[in-house]
């Protein structure tokens, strides 16, 4: 009996010896914070389940939008190690393009932020497709003109995309002005849906965004896991030089990945422009969101982007409502706290791997 204990004890000690005591204290602190947050949310949820459901759905649908945007960002980074600082600008551009096109298609009837929608299905789909493609092509041109011949120089590429984002922001202001407006959703969409097992209703378009996000996630996953293109992308993430040595045209893969990543930013821009609004401040906002999602989830990881988007969406929407009265405008600190928590335990993000 005593021999057994003696055999176990050193093993346990050696397990802990691999973790510095400071890290252990840190993890305990992180666990404590998480438990506290869970208890607080549960307490609030039992007090008012209806609010909990609505706010939870807000968070989920927001997370869907964040995922669509950040998945493009993380795809580009994972394959090419390019931090596309113009990602938020592409998001914003798509919104403005779609808004402009919808206004022209409907003769300016549809683009009211409030009231019922006057836009037909085509008046929403056509701007969506055109804006996505236009933004995708802008991303592609950006990559071919400026980034292609700076491969591997991460900082320089980041600086180049920052320069482009400055120009896009200024030109957007010049051409579209600074008024925030929303795209009108198609009039064939119901305005809201009844939630099952309750008398609550919820805006349909937000649910639609969540569904699109899930579809995008599944399609990307299938593409990366099941297709030849995905195989090349995965191989390229691990070893670019080896892939090109095998005779694969890696430049073509890079170009397609950039086109896809930028198109996803565009898709996010149109969805977000309909769900929330098209605004000249969108570039900063969605660059920040993309950054936070991938910092939390780990750069280049699709699952990480999904988890990061979920965490950010939920913290975002619950933070605004569940903070004690009088402190709700401090909700931004919660996002900062989320970032600190994750980085304290995993400096490379939840699913991050060393490059």
């Amino acid at each position: 009996m005593s021999g057994q204990t003696a055999a176990v004890a050193p093993e346990r000690r050696s397990r802990f010896a691999t973790v510095p005591p400071g890290t252990l204290a840190l993890r305990a602190a992180v666990a404590l914070v998480l438990v506290f947050v869970a208890v607080w949310v549960a307490y609030k949820a039992f007090g008012d389940p209806r609010t909990f459901v609505i706010v939870g759905l807000n968070g989920l649908t927001l997370a869907g939008l964040y995922f669509v945007v950040a998945s493009g960002f993380t795809l580009i980074f994972g394959l090419m190690r390019v931090v596309n600082m113009a990602h938020g600008s592409l998001y914003m551009l798509a919104g403005f393009f779609a808004l402009e096109l919808q206004t022209r298609l409907t003769g300016g009837e549809a683009t009211s932020a409030f009231g019922s929608s006057q836009a037909g299905l085509g008046d929403w789909i056509i701007p969506l497709v055109v804006a996505c493609l236009a933004v995708g092509v802008i991303g592609l041109v950006m990559q071919q003109l400026f980034l292609r011949w700076n491969q591997g120089q991460e900082l320089r590429q980041a600086l180049i995309t920052i320069a482009i984002s400055i120009i896009i922001a200024d030109q957007t202001l010049a051409h579209f002005g600074g008024i925030a407006e929303s795209l009108a959703p198609p009039d064939s969409f119901p305005e809201s849906v009844h939630l099952p097992f309750s008398d609550l209703t919820y805006p349909f378009f937000r649910i639609f965004v969540l569904l699109v996000a899930i579809a995008v996630g599944l399609a990307l996953w299938a593409m990366i896991q099941r297709t030849r293109f995905g195989m090349i992308v995965r191989a390229g993430v691990d070893d670019r030089q080896m892939v090109s040595a095998l005779g694969i045209n890696i430049q073509l893969v890079f170009a397609s990945a950039f086109l896809l990543g930028a198109t996803l930013a565009g898709l996010g821009g149109v969805l977000g422009g309909t769900m929330i609004s098209v605004d000249k401040a969108n570039d900063t906002q969605y660059l920040l969101i993309s950054l936070i999602v991938v910092i939390i989830g780990g750069m280049g990881s699709l699952a990480g982007a999904a988890l990061g988007a979920l965490a950010l969406g939920l913290v975002d929407s619950f933070g605004d409502v569940y903070l004690p009265a009088g402190y709700t405008n401090y909700s931004i600190l919660l996002i900062f706290g989320l970032l600190v928590l994750v980085l304290a335990v995993r400096p490379l993000g939840l699913f991050g791997r060393p490059a």
Binding site: L155, I295, F336
Partner: protein, 355 residues
């Protein structure tokens, strides 16, 4: 080594520098009050902000986009503690408020450094950028401290006087602070601590193997960067007589980055050179009809050109000229394998460690 080539090189580095310092020392006699305040003083405090970025990039290998947020923390803390329109109702004397502002920025720098110091290169850049943008939203949301209107009519110490009608004093304060910052960083680079930082920049794993606590060193360096940035924050509030979230938004972050890159990301002098070019361009182009309100497009294009063509910035171009003349005079291959004075950081724009 050819002596005359070396002395020519020295002369080409020190000559223009000394001339610039001389011109600056008597600047109030040479320039109008408007130009002194709106271009030169502005360039000096922007230069200090860029110097904090260049100090981290050149000596520690950390490219931070959080410096503007740190100077904002110093500025907002000070503005809240003194008598002003908006912000908290506290009414301290300006000097202790300034001190507390600087300390707050250093504390924030050490804290952000603690979470970000285990990340390197482009990850570090992303984390500091995310924290920077979060700080902007924080001051925008928290109306108790600022709100989007900002804190106006901030009380200044008597010696600062009115920066518009009587700009001389503030000019000399900015000039003196710039000189102190420059000499301090140059001195620091030769101390054991500074050498350890440069070791961390060149090879973190080797420094760890030598027994240095690399994350701790990086954290301390970030705290020092925050100290330098806080000077810029305090002077900018005195100069503007106000501070708002708009003073620390993404555009401002990019401005400081642009200044550092235009000047040269790997030479400390570049901070002020870049800042003068930036401030002078800003002032000059506002009067031009073709440019008008589109200053940011011009700056973005210049930034893009510099990043694409001369990553060493203006100081890099000057370096090439000096090297070229040195070669012509000595009539042989480059006199020295490593350009520039011996204690200068190497120009390693493209190596991954230098990120």
């Amino acid at each position: 080594m050819n002596r005359s080539a070396l002395s020519l090189e020295r002369a080409l580095w020190w000559g223009p520098g000394l001339l610039l310092v001389l011109v600056l020392a008597v600047a109030p006699l040479l320039f109008t009050d408007f130009y002194l305040s709106q271009v030169i003083t502005k360039a000096l405090w922007l230069g200090i902000a860029a110097a904090s970025l260049i100090f981290l990039a050149a000596y520690v290998g950390m490219v931070s986009l959080g410096q503007v947020a740190l100077y904002g923390i110093a500025g907002f803390t000070m503005a809240n503690l003194v008598v002003a329109d908006g912000g908290s109702p506290v009414a301290w004397d300006p000097w202790p408020a300034t001190l507390v502002g600087i300390l707050a920025a250093v504390a924030a720098g050490l804290f952000i450094g603690a979470i970000a110091s285990r990340s390197y290169g482009i990850y570090f850049l992303m984390i500091t950028l995310a924290v920077g943008v979060l700080t902007y939203y924080f001051f925008g949301q928290v109306t108790q401290l600022s709100g989007f209107g900002g804190v106006n009519n901030v009380t200044r110490p008597g010696i600062v006087s009115n920066p518009v009608t009587d700009p001389q004093n503030l000019f000399y304060i900015a000039l003196g602070t710039s000189a102190v910052v420059y000499l301090f960083v140059r001195y620091l680079a030769r101390t054991p601590f500074g050498l350890a930082l440069q070791g961390v920049r060149d090879d973190p794993s080797r420094m760890r193997a030598l027994g240095y606590n690399v994350p701790f060193l990086r954290m301390l360096a970030f705290g020092l960067g925050a100290l330098i940035a806080s000077f810029a924050g305090i002077i900018s509030v005195w100069w503007n007589t106000r501070i708002s979230p708009g003073s620390i938004d993404l555009a401002r972050t990019i401005d400081v980055l642009v200044i550092a890159v235009i000047g040269g990301l790997y030479r400390l002098e570049g901070a002020w050179v870049g800042a003068f070019v930036f401030a002078a361009l800003d002032n000059w182009t506002r009067g031009l009809d073709i440019v008008g309100q589109r200053f940011n497009t011009v700056i973005g294009a210049i930034f893009l050109a510099i990043v694409l063509l001369s990553p060493g910035g203006l100081m890099g171009i000057w370096q090439s000229i000096v090297d070229f003349l040195g070669r012509q005079l000595s009539g042989g291959p480059p006199a020295r394998p490593t350009p520039g004075p011996a204690d200068e950081p190497r120009q390693a724009t493209d190596s991954p460690q230098a990120l």
